[in-house]
């Protein structure tokens, strides 16, 4: 019997790791053949034989505590636990006998004697493994009675907003503790005491909220009873329906079962079949979904002639006609290139594809860009230049084969938590870690994980760092010359190796620039080059710099020179911020590229699209987002269709962005909420959440996964339908009846997608592109035999210091990032209970800098740059180094981007969010800008109230 067909069943223990060969045995008279090392309980389950269990589950290693899964084996004494006993050739196993039944019943009765017999009113009634086992064994009462010592009066912990811990329901199976340790890797839960006194608690007998718990929910998922239970289940009852879909938060792209009751989401349960997450989740994906029904949702289209007047709710027809008329009037007056569109990484592949098609085919220009402009556009440029494809090289599971990991400018425990759990698992197995980050992120030193090197570089010195690493590798003879000679372009290698060998690139020469001790950098370089499989993971700390693209190329150089590309366990992996950053880039959202990263100047490519779309296309690139802002302020760009993005909050130099927004004659915002950008809009088109539409997302490992509609759209239209309506109103026909037809068109036009279809996605679960004739089931690892561009290209990565330097006036360097509980501009997570963990952005400042300024923990501080100033609370911490301060950008009223500048990456215009020279002072009141924002917000909300009427 195949192990694959049992996918949704709990097989009791995980599959064996690192074993080869099959073992044949007999279980209850059935011949079974399984992999060597398989447990008996798993072998039996594969054969369709269910053995009772409580502490065993196939997401956790066997524990052997409940003694429920006892079996008998011919020729052996006793009754071993089938979860901790491995199969052996010729074994004859019995899972049922009078003796086993007596033993199991006795154990169960002991459990029941200390368990509330309230099944009828228990929230887990019908979803409780203890109840199931009791029913299977026919146990209703306990011969030990219910009046002995027990834990029935134990106090419930309700501190977490999403789940309760009821110790009276706990059977101390340790599944929660093991899930926290082995799956999540946080080690927040404790089992204390022995025998009757044993109990589970968070931290050191703390409440969940006071402990180290990160609310990933792995414990809740693993609990066999109602001891750990979602509050939504307690309040609303168990779900009735389950729909497999893909998370709408970060670039990990976890697969979830959305469990519903009618049109109410009861809970999100991570799917074991999801290849990105394999049954794990984080606090955002699992719990922070209530925003879909938040009162701030706007579900009616609205229009207005000026941003100084109230909104008017109108029909879809009127809103679309108004938009089309305005856009055509602008083009008639200011020219074809005077309007454009912005796609979003929060929207599906099909939606972003349609928006760029709308711009190119219906607007008739290439003025389309995406929010990836402000995060990972340098990844596209850098990896395309060096390796030939604008994408990460690995699947997430590849990290399980890594021997040394370099983590550069990424903070996965906060921003990509499910990947962080995979990484921590591998590190606990012995892989070694180098963290390159100006801040002391959690992975530098956390339970059972410690970075061997924390290279705490100064913001803005990434390229100097990567050059110094490469210098050590080449000059100390650590380059994999065989790999380089076989796989890379030799002329580029010769020029680059001569460049990198120059003394100016040595760690000693660059020490004063990077702030990294040369000796330690040399040790780190030697470790990466010689410890076996070397894998590099990076985030926005790499890309959001004036040399973001150069740094990406420097990383690719490092991987090529050490032969760390083209197999499992190695590679260059960008950790994408939002769920569909990869997809929005793949879909041709950049103004210079058609879908599949093909330049608009290529006549063959243009002809392909012109034939399919039946329209003539422009051959020159259009405007990128910052260029649109400049042109708008200059008066040449007048209309913008902005789908799913909040550029007024997320883009740098807010003054500049708001001036641009105010310069537009028609700003159309398609979103869930009246976001910061919508305050400047003339048309609001209400969008749909990921629960309300069909489509696909592509995660950071190029994995295309289905988004499935769980409930009708609250606005009456899925987002792709709005774009279709707008195109038709503009006179460009679009006739899709389902997103699958859009994907079929993408597949017809894009060589890396030719094998992709909804049918195949439904069949395989997910597909990593390229998926075509050569790779019909997709491509987990790229560049295996050769690079996409043929030979790898070593790019010269000369260090050019940023113009943004600390001065006497602005002596500190501000760098920005994210926190676990909030997501991006916070539009979704701010409208959930996640605000209990963070309800404002704060400024981290080193104790030395704080003392110099008389700043104490919690003080209001003003932060000022040459672009603007804002006020927020200070946290005094040594997570940041002296001279560096840090904040996040999740809350609009903090306005972190009022401070960031319009400096950007030289190649892509990705903003330099990570380096801003600032001064910080203690203050007593909000900034002038914040006061103005609050007044402007009040005015705009009043305009909204007028449209919606009282009480809505």
């Amino acid at each position: 019997m195949s192990e694959l067909i049992q996918s949704s069943q709990d097989l009791g223990t995980p599959p064996p790791r690192g074993t080869t060969g099959q073992v044949s045995l007999e279980i209850d008279g059935h011949e079974v053949s399984v992999s060597k090392g398989t447990s008996l309980i798993r072998a039996a389950a594969i054969a369709g034989i269910s053995i009772p269990k409580l502490c065993a589950t196939d997401s956790l290693d066997a524990f052997g505590s409940c003694r429920m899964c006892l079996v008998e084996i011919d020729g052996r004494r006793g009754t071993p636990a089938s979860c901790t006993t491995s199969v052996e050739e010729g074994m004859v196993v019995h899972t049922q006998s009078g003796k086993l039944e007596r033993l199991r019943k006795n154990i169960l009765e002991l459990y029941i004697s200390d368990h509330p017999l309230d099944c009828d009113t228990c929230p887990a009634d019908g979803d409780c493994e203890l109840q199931d086992v009791a029913a299977d064994l026919g146990v209703k009462d306990s011969r030990y009675g219910l009046n002995g010592l027990n834990h029935l009066g134990a106090e419930k912990d309700q501190s977490n907003p999403y789940f309760t811990f009821d110790p009276s329901q706990c059977i101390v199976c340790y599944r929660c503790v093991r899930a926290c340790d082995d799956i999540q890797g946080t080690f927040a839960l404790t089992g204390d005491g022995r025998g009757f006194a044993s109990k589970i608690s968070a931290g050191q007998m703390e409440s969940f909220m006071d402990s180290e718990c990160v609310s990933c929910g792995a414990c809740v998922n693993s609990c066999p009873t109602a001891a750990l239970e979602e509050k939504s289940v307690i309040k609303l009852g168990l779900p009735e329906k389950s729909t497999l879909t893909t998370c709408a938060y970060c670039g990990v792209g976890c697969t979830f079962n959305v469990e519903t009751r009618g049109e109410e989401v009861i809970r999100m349960v991570p799917s074991k079949q999801g290849k990105a997450n394999e049954g794990h989740a984080c606090v955002k994906g699992r719990f922070a979904f209530e925003y879909y029904k938040h009162g701030d949702r706007i579900t009616e289209p609205m229009i207005r002639d000026s941003i100084d007047e109230a909104w008017r709710e109108v029909s879809w027809e009127e809103a679309i006609a108004f938009t089309a008329r305005r856009f055509r009037e602008i083009q008639a007056k200011h020219g074809r290139d005077s309007i454009g569109g912005i796609t979003s990484s929060r929207c599906s592949n099909e939606e972003t594809y349609l928006v760029q098609k709308l711009v190119r085919a219906a607007f008739g220009n290439n003025n389309v860009d995406t929010c990836a402009r402000v995060c990972h556009s340098p990844t596209g440029y850098g990896l395309k230049t060096t390796l030939g494809e604008s994408a990460g090289t690995q699947a997430f599971e590849s990290v399980a084969s890594a021997d040394v990991v370099i983590l550069i400018g990424a903070n996965p425990t906060e921003a990509h938590p499910v990947f962080a759990s995979r990484l921590k698992h591998r590190l606990r197995e012995g892989a070694r870690l180098i963290v390159v980050d100006p801040r002391k992120i959690a992975l530098v030193d956390s339970p059972h994980v410690r970075a061997e090197h924390h290279l705490q570089l100064l913001p803005g010195s990434n390229v100097a760092f990567v050059n110094a690493m490469a210098h050590v590798i080449v000059s100390e003879g650590l380059a994999d010359e065989k790999y380089v000679n076989e796989r890379c372009e030799i002329p580029s290698w010769k020029i680059w190796s001569e460049f990198i060998m120059r003394e100016e690139n040595s760690p000693e020469s660059l020490q004063s620039v990077t702030g990294i001790d040369a000796t330690e950098l040399r040790q780190a370089a030697r470790l990466y080059a010689s410890a076996g499989n070397g894998a590099i993971y990076y985030g926005l700390g790499v890309t959001e710099h004036s040399q973001g693209s150069t740094m990406v190329m420097g990383i690719a150089n490092l991987a090529m020179v050490t032969g760390n590309l083209g197999r499992e366990g190695v590679g260059v992996s960008p950790l994408r911020g939002q769920n569909n950053v990869q997809g929005s880039c793949d879909m041709g959202s950049f103004p210079h590229e058609l879908p599949g990263y093909r330049h608009v100047s290529d006549p063959e490519v243009r002809t392909l699209f012109e034939n399919e779309w039946q329209v003539k296309l422009q051959q020159d690139p259009g405007l990128r987002i910052p260029n649109m802002f400049d042109a708008a302020i200059h008066g040449n760009f007048k209309g913008l269709y902005c789908q799913g993005e909040d550029i007024a909050q997320s883009d740098p130099n807010t003054h500049h962005v708001e001036t641009a927004m105010k310069s537009l004659e028609c700003l159309v915002v398609q979103d869930l909420f009246l976001n910061e950008t919508a305050r400047f809009a003339h048309v609001f088109l209400p969008g749909s959440t990921f629960l309300e539409k069909n489509g696909t997302f592509t995660n950071a490992e190029r994995r295309i996964s289905m988004v499935r509609k769980v409930m009708p759209s609250r606005s009456g239209k899925e987002d792709w339908e709005i774009t279709v309506d707008l195109a038709n109103e503009l006179g460009y026909p679009m006739t899709y009846s389902h997103p699958s037809e859009i994907m079929d068109e993408i597949a017809r036009l894009t060589p890396t997608f030719t094998g992709v279809s909804y049918d195949k996605l439904n069949r395989l679960g997910s597909i990593q592109w390229p998926c075509n004739e050569e790779a019909p089931d997709g491509t987990p690892t790229m560049h295996v035999d050769e690079f996409v561009r043929g030979k790898g290209y070593f790019a010269i990565t000369g260090f050019v210091p940023t113009r943004e330097r600390s001065t006497r006036r602005f002596p500190l360097l501000l760098t920005t990032g994210r926190i676990l509980s909030q997501y991006n501009v916070g539009a979704q997570t701010r409208r959930t209970a996640n605000t209990v963990w963070a309800d404002q952005d704060v400024l981290e400042i080193h104790p030395v800098d704080a003392e110099d300024r008389g700043i104490n923990n919690g003080d209001w501080v003003g932060i000022k740059s040459r672009a603007g100033d804002t006020v927020l609370h200070a946290i005094v911490t040594d997570k940041v180094q002296p001279g560096v301060v840090y904040t996040t950008f999740h809350f609009p009223l903090t306005g972190a981007n009022i401070v960031t500048t319009d400096n950007s990456d030289w190649a892509t215009n990705c903003p330099e969010y990570k380096v801003t020279a600032v001064q910080v002072t203690r203050v007593t009141q909000p900034s002038e800008w914040q006061k103005q924002q609050q007044a402007f917000n009040r005015k705009q909300l009043a305009f909204l109230d007028k449209a919606r009427g009282p009480g809505r």
Partner: protein, 70 residues
Amino acid sequence: MGENETEHLVSMANDIAANLGFHADADERIADHLRRFWAPRMRNILMGYADDGGKGLSENLVAALDKLRD
């Protein structure tokens, strides 16, 4: 830098020139980059600025703009 579009474009172009200036064929690479990634309107503003004296444009950028005109 400020809200002046030309000033911004000059600054961006100088950044491109500085970063591609490490190559022996920098002029051609800079011109190619502007051709492949800049909208015609942006290139035209920059070339207009160069024609008006081009104050502050780096040397290899000026050479690249000459190639762009070819």
